[in-house]
């Protein structure tokens, strides 16, 4: 059997970093092939080369036995390759049919296309209305748009980049059934992920990347998750440990918090209530786009709300802005590192001053003492092992993991009484993620209240005292994290969002 796709010695270098170094692997027809690796291992660059978005510096590919060097995604699509992007390649102000048409080489007339979308979505159990605006769809529904766009082209190879990061466990099950159905029809799938259990459940072969190089291949069905993890990370991971400590009084309370989303396609928060105690870690799960950004904004003070909706240490603070909340000891670290938690082109010491000037005493009679800002930045860098040439480099020069450590460290070192973080380890390599989780646990052990909003359920199970889920702007009742099953969590996250199982 000749391979469907045969990749030989692909290398791609960017200034200062070799994204892919002599990478080779092959995919057989009708198989699901996993590309496994940490964030920054070079998975995305590799599939971009297969999809014609990036040209390799050296190396060659064969597709269906013929030389293959796509100069554009159009060529790749013409050859029979389709791709579902991690960050969707969708257009919110356009409707579903238009979005599908944009991903096809020769789309039929719109009315016919809408009919085809209905048929395919019926066949694969992915209900979708072609006339709806994509901006009004949930994350799971958006993924269906991407998948249907691919399916309509009868691809020989379907590339899926981290497809489950936006799905509930139940939706993941349905996705896997769809993928197995495709596989049984002869389609090969290149499945990119860093989630080991998924790969063990779905894939036939696995190629493991680390720092741009292939470090091994494995049969995921016979390898243990531990073996795969060891190959992927290259070292034994320290699993964060929670120290046993008693919980204190309630410090942060939300009472019927409702927020209209500021954005056109955002999610409004509806009647959210919970209590958070000193020393407690409350984990809030949920699929992206269910109100996470809005919740963080309402807690950080960026979105003002009714005074009584947020109570901190017995004081109604819903109407107060970020500075007043920091003064009282309520700190936050948003999800988006570049452009929200940090200003990309400003130096680390300026970014240290961004949220730290008040509590670190950098400002006197409205004048900033830049020496203090620098020394605070140095302190964060030293305490959180931030790899950087110095305090005066711009934030965007740091890798994602290092900047995330800086951002989290900046808030933790200000000794908050309560800290709210959104996606603290998103896009961060495993060792940095472990360090960040440990720091959050230590903060809680010291008596602070910690609220972690995350889409990574494993992370939440690892560090949370209690767990709740956001679903369409509503928060489920928090439950003790210990002993929660995946099914229970999935139901808290909204189950399968009205999807039906594929007609097998």
């Amino acid at each position: 059997m000749t391979a469907l796709l045969d990749v030989r010695g692909l290398t791609k270098a960017y200034p200062g970093v070799v994204a892919n170094d002599d990478v080779s692997f092959s995919i057989d027809p009708g198989t699901v092939h996993a590309l496994l690796g940490e964030n920054g291992a070079g998975k995305s660059t590799l599939v971009k080369m297969v999809y014609g978005l990036v040209r390799p510096d050296t190396g060659s590919m064969q597709f269906s036995g013929a030389e293959f060097a796509p100069g554009s995604p159009q060529e790749a699509r013409a050859a029979g390759i389709a791709m579902v992007f991690q960050h969707f390649s969708l257009f919110e102000a356009l409707d579903v049919a238009e979005n599908v048409a944009l991903g096809m080489e020769n789309p039929p007339p719109m009315r016919k296309l809408a009919q085809q979308i209905r048929e395919v979505s019926e066949t694969y159990g992915l209900p979708l209305n072609p006339d709806r605006l994509v901006g009004d769809l949930s994350a799971g529904e958006r993924q269906r748009v991407e998948i249907i766009r691919c399916l309509l082209q009868d691809p020989k190879l379907l590339i899926m980049d981290e497809p489950t990061s936006v799905l509930t466990p139940q939706e993941v099950d349905i996705l896997f059934q769809t993928l197995r159905k495709l596989q049984s029809e002869g389609t090969s799938i290149l499945y990119i992920s860093h989630k080991l259990e998924e790969i063990r459940a779905l894939c036939d072969d696995a190629t493991i990347l680390r720092l741009g190089k292939v470090v091994g291949t494995a049969d995921p069905r016979t390898s243990s998750a531990h073996e795969l993890a060891a190959m992927m990370v290259g070292e034994e991971l320290k699993v964060p440990k929670a120290r046993d400590h008693a919980l204190g009084d309630v410090t942060l309370r939300l009472d019927g918090l409702s927020v209209a989303s500021p954005g056109a396609f955002g999610t409004s928060l509806k009647d959210i209530s919970f209590e958070l105690r000193e020393g407690e870690v409350l984990g809030i799960g949920g699929v992206a786009g269910n109100g996470q950004d809005e919740l963080l904004g309402a807690l950080s003070g960026e979105i003002p709300v009714a005074p009584g909706a947020v109570t901190f240490k017995g004081e109604a603070i819903g109407h107060l802005g970020p500075v007043a909340r920091r003064r009282r000891g309520l700190l936050a670290a948003p999800e988006e590192r570049l452009g929200h938690a940090a200003a990309p082109n400003m130096s680390l010491s300026e970014n240290a001053a961004l949220s730290g000037w008040l509590r670190q005493g950098m400002v006197r009679s409205n004048l900033i003492d830049w020496r203090k800002a620098r020394s605070f930045a140095s302190e964060v860098i030293a305490s959180f092992d931030v790899r950087t040439p110095g305090t005066e480099v711009p934030a965007r020069a740091l890798s994602g993991g290092n900047l995330q450590k800086f951002v989290i460290g900046r808030e933790i070192l200000q000794a908050p009484d309560a800290l709210v973080v959104n996606q603290p380890t998103w896009g961060v390599d495993a060792s940095a993620a472990a360090a960040i989780r440990q720091a959050l646990l230590d903060l809680a052990a010291g008596g602070a209240a910690v609220l972690v909003i995350s889409q990574d359920l494993d992370e939440l199970m690892e560090i949370s005292t209690r767990f709740a889920a956001l679903n369409e702007g509503r928060l489920s009742a928090p439950r003790p994290a210990a002993g929660l099953t995946v099914e229970a969590i999935g139901l808290m996250m909204g189950g399968a969002h009205g999807m039906e199982v594929a007609h097998a």
Partner: protein
């Protein structure tokens, strides 16, 4: 008050004429903005169109070639904007302002020897005597060809954006340039085409001013029409039909205030002269205060710089 001296039929016919420069410039800018580019240099492109159109007409004796020259001249200037913002990734707001300042200067320079001249007038179409029909005649059947062209352009832009695949790609690029790039569409190429179209339209609008409305060349003769065109695109919520409505509304106000000035009403001339600008501001306020609806309909990538990082 006595409006007896103002003939409503002539008023409508002349408001269509007065609106045409703004309509042309606005429909061009609409396409540019739908592709995600904010070109604030409309005023500069219009004035360059006005002067190149004038010069071309004087030199060739043909108004048609004049309009062609205007479109070319303004397109050339628009392409400077394109090169700066799309290739050199300069700030679109600053570059657009630069375009206007440069356009005002270079047009004054080019037009120096042409200030006192007149051009051969270009005939209006008369449609086999249909222009003699009362009321409808002067409005529908007795306009300058470019007035018809401007209306055709509105329909064409509407049709292009709504139904054609290139139109859909252009909207996609304006909505999310990263995604459009990931799907293999040329963001920069699409935007260049849109910028060039916007330039050509603005140039035609400027030439209509210097060749038909005034018709003469004077420095700075566009007098803020480019800015009003920009405001009309916002007013129109980036929709072609509403651009037509907006342009005719403002054309109507300009014509009305001129008529009032001529009729000698006891309103200070300066107050009447500033009314189109004041009303533009007022309308902008009304549109934008509608609970952010206008901003919600703006192309999501509008004004953002695109650089494919790989």
């Amino acid at each position: 008050m006595d409006f007896g001296s103002i003939n409503p039929v002539l008023l409508i016919a002349s408001l269509m004429v007065a609106s045409t420069p703004i309509l042309l410039a606005a429909i061009g800018e609409l396409v540019v903005e739908r592709s995600g580019v904010l070109n604030l240099g409309v005023e500069g492109m219009m004035i360059v169109g006005a002067v190149t159109g004038f010069i071309a007409t004087v030199e060739t004796g043909s108004p048609a070639l004049g309009f062609l020259g205007a479109a070319l001249g303004a397109t050339l200037l628009a392409l400077v904007f394109g090169v700066l913002t799309q290739i050199f990734l300069s700030n679109q707001v600053a570059t657009g302002l630069g375009l206007t300042l440069f356009g005002l200067g270079i047009s004054a320079l080019m037009g120096q020897q042409y200030a006192q001249l007149r051009t051969p007038s270009s005939p209006r179409w008369e449609f086999f005597g249909l222009n003699e029909v009362p009321v409808l005649g002067p409005i529908v059947f007795n306009q300058h060809p470019v007035v018809y062209l401007s209306l055709i352009l509105v329909v064409a832009v509407w049709w292009f954006l709504r139904t054609t695949r290139p139109g859909m790609i252009l909207r996609a690029v304006g909505e999310n340039h990263e995604a459009a790039h990931a799907l293999g569409y040329s963001v920069i190429g699409t935007r260049f085409a849109a910028i060039a179209f916007g330039g050509a339209c603005a140039g035609l609008g400027g030439a209509f001013l210097s060749l038909v409305i005034v018709p003469q060349w004077t420095d700075g003769m566009t007098a803020g029409r480019g800015w009003i065109a920009l405001a009309i695109v916002v007013f129109a919520s980036w929709r072609a039909w509403r651009v037509l409505l907006g342009a005719y509304l403002f054309g109507g106000i300009s014509v009305l205030q001129l008529n009032l000035q001529a009729a000698g009403f006891a309103i200070p001339v300066e107050l009447l002269s500033m009314s189109p600008y004041l009303i533009t501001i007022l309308v902008l306020v009304i549109i934008s205060s509608g609970r952010g609806r206008a901003s919600g309909q703006a192309p999501a990538s509008l004004g953002r710089t695109f650089h494919a990082s790989g």
